[in-house]
Amino acid sequence: MKLKPVAYLERGEFPLEEGEALRLYRAMRRARFFDEKAVTLQRQGRLGVYPPFMGQEAAQVGVALALGEGDFVVPSYRESALLLAKGLPIHVLLLYWRAHPAGWGFPQGFRGVNPYIPIATQIPQAVGLALAGRYRGEDWVVAVSIGDGGTSEGDFHEGLNFAAVFSAPVVFLVQNNGYAISVPRSRQMRVDYIARRAEGYGMPGVVVDGNDAFAVYLEAKKAVERARRGEGPTLLEALTYRLAPHTTSDDPSRYRTREEEEAWRKKDPILRLRKALEERGLWDEERERGLLEELEEEFQRELALADQAPEPRPEEIVEHVYKEMGPDQRRAHEALRRGLHVEEAW
């Protein structure tokens, strides 16, 4: 069977209502703004190692905005845009990437969890979370995301198989950005499209142009609706590219060519959508400037909030390991609280 990526923008099609299209654009622009600021903060030593998502905004924002308020996102580490678009406050995300305890327990009621560092392990968990909704008589859908490299992991297979068998309301988003750090897709798998694998699990597989916000958003909406109707999971593969390094510690010039990066830069999902909006008279330079000012203000406000978070207490090391501290945590807690090493307090 031939799979063809769903795409609208490159053909000049505009399948959305204007308000929806603008909402997508603003959320993508806001995500990019965050990403650029985060990299700068890392360079200034005000953020820890950070994995940029630049170039993948359409894939993440497209899926986040296709979800309802009660739905969950279960992200990988490169998915700050997914969290932001789902409504996680910027200062919480900054604190998360600062490895500050106050950023490690998202606000009560936020329907999303901390990014996952181990690869693909979140996939079967997302299936469990989706099924929990069914047991509780709620119709929440779970969107779980992963990169192309992650699809080589066993947990990807186990999770998709479980989801299909239990007909779980899950949308699997694979952001195929072509690389697992430095290993290209061709060394990762010998199939043309990852979405092709869906058939092997017994679920629909869809490929979209991942730099086309319309395509991602509309296909994600279909998948969410399908899941909510009780018809089970969908595998959505978004073909995209990370324009930035794997993390702020990575040097992509060792494994990618400048030409390749330039070619993808031309397909920047934000520029593409902006062009489409401008062609319909929905956007212009002035509105862009206004939006950027708005974003700068919001970011500064949120950064100030993050900066106000108090220094972690030493004894936080052993807090929240268990609901009630066991004797070993209690002993260590007391020592740390008193400014002692645990060996001294023994």
Binding site: V113, N114, P118, G128, L131, A132, H320, V321, P327
Partner: protein, 331 residues
């Protein structure tokens, strides 16, 4: 505590009864794993539960341990209380990433927002001539994982109450069941719902000569050794740790201080086994009371032998415990 009527049950029946009661009491409780539904489990621990509580509460999963643990984690995140069965503890290995990276960490990495009240049941240990991998005792891996609790009952009566506590617990609990005890151990088990506290060791026998410390399938081995020793006029204390994490160090150290000699008995590989931790705790907390080195009676530093004819040499037995006892008494 007033105990109602009791009946004599084996470990399989006692655990089945606990699961049945938990399913009836709390609709958030789910029992799942490989073969637990229609078949009732390869050891029949879950027999009859699916017929009684329905296919959505007691269900078979695809054969995938990491998937089972991942599913349990997600269900718990969503407010359920999953009780997952891993068919043999030696099959936990494919799921170690889920256990180490997530099950034990979520409360901590969410700063208390997401607790995972998951119970993972798994049969462990040797003595019944199982095939390769089926007799492993992987409790040390689990005990080395912050955020999980590890419980290993030694009798049907204890197992029932401890399992119900594990299911009520807000943190993930590994509940390891010694295969040798499934049908081998029989005891008076109270009817109805009762819980026994996690994190408490129990002194099952008292004597002045030495303290034997163990858990699960090794408790009956220690008791057998204690009986033989008694016939020779040597009275020993036997401590059943019951919960390995959190460890009841107070009961352990008190028992060792009273006798001055300690032997730790465990059927896992010797090096880095949980018995090594016990020996270290005794060295840290009771060195002044020791009259002999702490000895370990454990498996060998080799995989558990799948060869029936020599299996009994790997798994500690009363004779080996008695040999160690002679050594500490004559030190």
């Amino acid at each position: 505590m007033v105990r109602e009527r009791t009946r004599v049950l084996n470990l399989v029946q006692a655990i089945n009864e606990a699961l049945d009661l938990a399913l009836a009491r709390d609709e958030r409780v789910l029992v799942f794993g490989e073969d637990v539904g229609r078949l009732g489990g390869v050891f029949r621990v879950t027999e009859g539960l699916q017929a009684k509580h329905g296919e959505s509460r007691v269900f078979d999963t695809p054969l995938a341990e990491s998937g089972i643990l991942g599913l349990a984690i997600g269900l718990a995140m969503g407010g359920m209380r999953p009780v997952a069965e891993i068919q043999f503890a030696g099959f936990l290995y494919p799921a170690l990433d889920q256990i180490l990276s997530h099950l034990g960490r979520w409360r901590h990495r969410s700063r208390g927002r997401v607790g995972l009240p998951v119970v993972v049941r798994a049969p462990y240990g040797g003595g019944v001539h199982t095939p390769e991998q089926h007799a492993d005792s992987p409790e040390a891996f689990l005990c080395h994982t912050p955020g999980v609790k590890v419980v290993i009952p030694a009798s049907p009566e204890r197992a029932k109450g401890l399992l119900l506590s594990a299911i009520e617990d807000e943190d993930p609990v590994f509940f390891l069941e010694a295969i040798k005890l499934y049908r081998g151990a029989r005891a008076e088990v109270p009817e109805g719902y009762y819980t026994l506290p996690l994190g408490k060791a129990r002194v099952v026998r008292e004597g002045k000569a030495a303290t034997l410390i163990g858990y699960g399938g090794m408790v009956e081995v220690m008791l057998e050794a204690a009986e033989v020793a008694q016939r020779e006029g040597v009275e020993v204390t036997v401590v059943d740790l019951e919960t390995l994490v959190p460890l009841d160090e107070d009961t352990l150290l008190e028992a060792v201080r009273a006798t001055g000699r300690a032997i730790v008995v465990y059927e896992a590989m010797r090096t880095g086994g949980f018995g090594a931790e016990i020996a270290a705790r005794i060295a840290e907390g009771a060195i002044d009371h020791l009259q002999a080195p702490v000895l370990r009676v454990a498996g060998y530093d080799a995989p558990y032998p799948p060869f029936s004819a020599i299996e009994h040499l790997y798994r500690p037995n009363a004779r080996r415990v008695l040999a160690a006892l002679r050594k500490v008494l004559t030190y």
